[in-house]
């Protein structure tokens, strides 16, 4: 798979901050085996902002807990900075975690919460005071040292949790849906804040989320998980523009998943010709007679009333829905292959819509934007 090759080049030859090799975790509950993680391989580079993205129950938290040391893998190995840490308890791993529920200590003040880790490590008193003070400044909580967690807002609690972990200067920080409990506005503000802090401290972040926008905007790389496995691993752009599987295409953004029978091959691509004048070019190795599935992102498609010329992809259809959405207009087009295709057209000029409901139109796009997908 090309993705794994890219993953290796991304981390280069230097030691990965976190590496999982064929990690499997099976829980046993009520005499039943529950496979939560079914074989995950990944290498996260030093200072990288790495996201684990996937639907509920796909094994994100379990993967993270194995990195932190709260769960031990059933099979496989976990390396932190090159050393095998299977069997090493969480308090001896040089990484910290921000819990989904924050898990702040309710009987301690903000200051005591943040100082907890340093005190356990036996850092001298004056250094604890200095580092806690600096950290509270970074997360903008100076002046609230004496408050109890319950006397803080959700966003402030979140920042205490972050400060409590970061103040220890761990080699990696694990964040399990840290913004899950916040409302949209605060969430967006905290996304920016988190990214800023990560740049400032230069620590590896492993970020669990099921929010694709969050993952796309914040991450250096993303691992899309489904049902205990990594479906695709790559940069946000790779994941978004070239989803490797149908699952990824469906999970990330809006995507058109189409299929057709290859009628001929042309250079390095397969060509599908559903009807007269229609042509879909899908780069790949499929041969004539094969049925290929491929994706095209809605914003890559152009809608026009005349038949396009040139060697691009062209498909005929009827507009079934036009929705004006400000910066772009959303067209739903019923194609001759019976599939409904979603198209986003940028509203560059203030001219009228290119087509109305019921119009016959031609869809066209650059063949580079059709991606054949796996199962």
């Amino acid at each position: 798979m090309t993705e794994t090759v890219e993953a290796d080049t991304a981390t280069g030859t230097e030691l990965a901050a976190i590496e999982l090799r064929r990690v499997v975790k099976t829980f046993h509950s009520h005499g039943e085996a529950v496979p939560a993680v079914k074989g995950v391989d990944l290498a996260i580079g030093q200072g990288e902002f790495f996201s684990l993205l996937g639907p509920s129950g796909c094994g994100k938290t379990t993967t993270m807990r194995m990195i932190a040391g709260f769960d031990e893998p059933t099979e496989g190995e976990v390396f932190l900075h090159g050393s095998d840490v299977v069997g090493v308890p969480p308090n001896r791993r040089d990484i910290n975690m921000v819990f989904q529920s924050y898990a702040l200590f309710p009987h301690m003040s903000v200051l005591e919460n943040v100082a907890f880790g340093l005190r356990r490590k036996g850092v001298p008193k004056d250094e604890v005071a200095r580092r806690v003070g600096e950290m509270l400044e970074i997360v903008d909580l100076t002046g609230r040292e004496k408050r109890r967690p319950r006397e803080l807002s959700g966003g402030q609690q979140q920042r205490v949790a972050l400060a409590r972990a970061l103040v220890n200067r761990p080699r990696a920080l694990l964040l399990d849906e840290p913004l899950g409990a916040l409302d949209l506005k605060l969430r967006q503000a905290m996304q920016v804040e988190l990214k800023r802090i990560q740049r400032e401290v230069g620590i590896t972040f492993v970020y669990v989320t099921h929010d694709q926008n969050e993952a796309l905007t914040m991450s250096d790389r993303i691992a899309v998980m489904n049902d205990g496995l990594i479906e695709q691993l790559g940069t946000p752009r790779e994941i978004y523009e070239r989803p490797a599987t149908k699952f990824v295409a469906g999970f990330i953004g809006t995507s058109n998943v189409l299929s057709g029978t290859v009628s001929r091959r042309d250079a390095a691509a397969a060509v599908i010709e559903p009807g007269p004048g229609e042509r879909i070019v899908v780069p790949g190795t499929a041969s004539a007679g094969d049925v290929v599935e491929f994706t095209v992102r809605p914003e890559k498609i152009d809608v026009r009333t005349e038949q396009p010329d040139g060697e691009g992809c062209a498909l005929r259809g009827t507009v079934t829905e036009v929705v004006y959405l400000g910066t772009f207009t959303n067209y739903n087009v019923q194609t001759s292959t019976a599939a409904e295709v979603v198209v986003f057209v940028q509203n560059v000029s203030s001219a009228d819509d290119v087509a109305a409901r019921g119009d016959s139109v031609w869809l066209s796009w650059d063949p580079r934007h059709s991606y054949a997908i796996g199962a």
Binding site: F70, N91, F99, A103, F105
Partner: protein, 284 residues
């Protein structure tokens, strides 16, 4: 209008119950404690506060012993109950309630009967001491019954569930991710317990102390059955004065003295522990 009445209607049954069966007897007993006289000639309210001073000086030994036994039995209860409650709350798994039920099972048997069975068990030639003595492991004159130890042991045994339950409830409410967070922040098991779990369970310990120390200090059954004549508690004296001597004023005065001591003690205890804070955590 009706809406505003509802809360009052809700406390009406309980309020009436308390008014009739608690407040009224309290007032009656309080007035008794200030009376003079005897059953034959009747009692008269003469504001005879000497009932108190005389009671305290006459029965100082028993008062002190009651408080001492109370402290000892309560401490023993904490030491026994905490690990048990901890184990059930954190290691009990799906069978938590079963274990809890097993702990409480003996208490389906009458209090007095249980205490008597202890007497039988610990008798000088009973099924425990008898064989040990005949095996020569214990001297022939060794005895447990009629010692302070037997009374404290009986009290501990009888009031244990009142300690286990609140501690269990408090521990059960401690979010396991708190422990994980502590471990994540470089605390070993012992540190995680001392710094996080134990402080968070203090409200339960506090409630347990209230629920055991007060009734233990006022108990008379254990001292009667297991204690013999040298280990009487203030409860025995009050019972005797009331039922045998019919000295109602003195019995009432001693009761109120005990109550006052316990209230002051609990107040000081709460202050010392900073309970407001502790209770706030419990209700978070």
């Amino acid at each position: 209008m009706r809406r505003r009445l509802v809360p009052y209607l809700l406390i009406l049954p309980g309020g009436l119950w308390l008014a009739i069966f608690f407040v009224v007897p309290m007032v009656v007993m309080l007035s008794f404690s200030l009376m003079e006289g005897d059953v034959v000639n009747g009692f008269a309210l003469t504001w005879h506060w000497q009932n108190y001073t005389e009671g305290i000086s006459t029965y100082a030994d028993q008062l002190v012993r009651s408080l001492l036994y109370g402290v000892l039995a309560t401490a023993a209860c904490i030491l026994l109950a905490y690990p048990a409650a901890y184990w059930i709350a954190f290691r009990g798994g799906v069978r938590k309630t079963t274990y809890l039920f097993l702990m409480l099972l003996p208490f389906f048997v009458s209090f007095v009967l249980r205490t008597f069975s202890w007497k039988f068990l610990l008798a000088d030639d009973g099924i425990v001491l008898g064989p040990l003595k005949s095996a020569g492991l214990l001297p022939q004159d060794f005895h447990v019954i009629a010692t302070g130890f037997a009374v404290v042991a009986g009290l501990t045994y009888n009031y244990l569930p009142f300690m286990v339950l609140p501690i269990y409830v408090a521990l059960e409410r401690v979010d396991p991710t708190m422990v994980e967070a502590a471990q994540d922040l470089y605390a070993g098991r012992a540190q995680a317990f001392l710094r996080v779990v134990f402080p968070l369970s203090l409200p339960g310990v506090f409630a347990g102390v209230l629920m055991t120390f007060v009734p233990v200090s006022a108990d008379y059954v254990n001292a009667t059955v297991l204690g013999g004549t040298n280990n009487t508690m203030i409860g025995n004296i009050i019972q005797n004065l009331y039922l045998v001597n019919s000295d109602y004023p003195e019995a009432a005065a001693l009761s109120f003295t005990l109550m006052a001591i316990l209230l002051v003690g609990i107040f000081l205890y709460a202050r010392a522990l900073g309970t407001e804070d502790v209770l706030e955590v419990a209700t978070r």
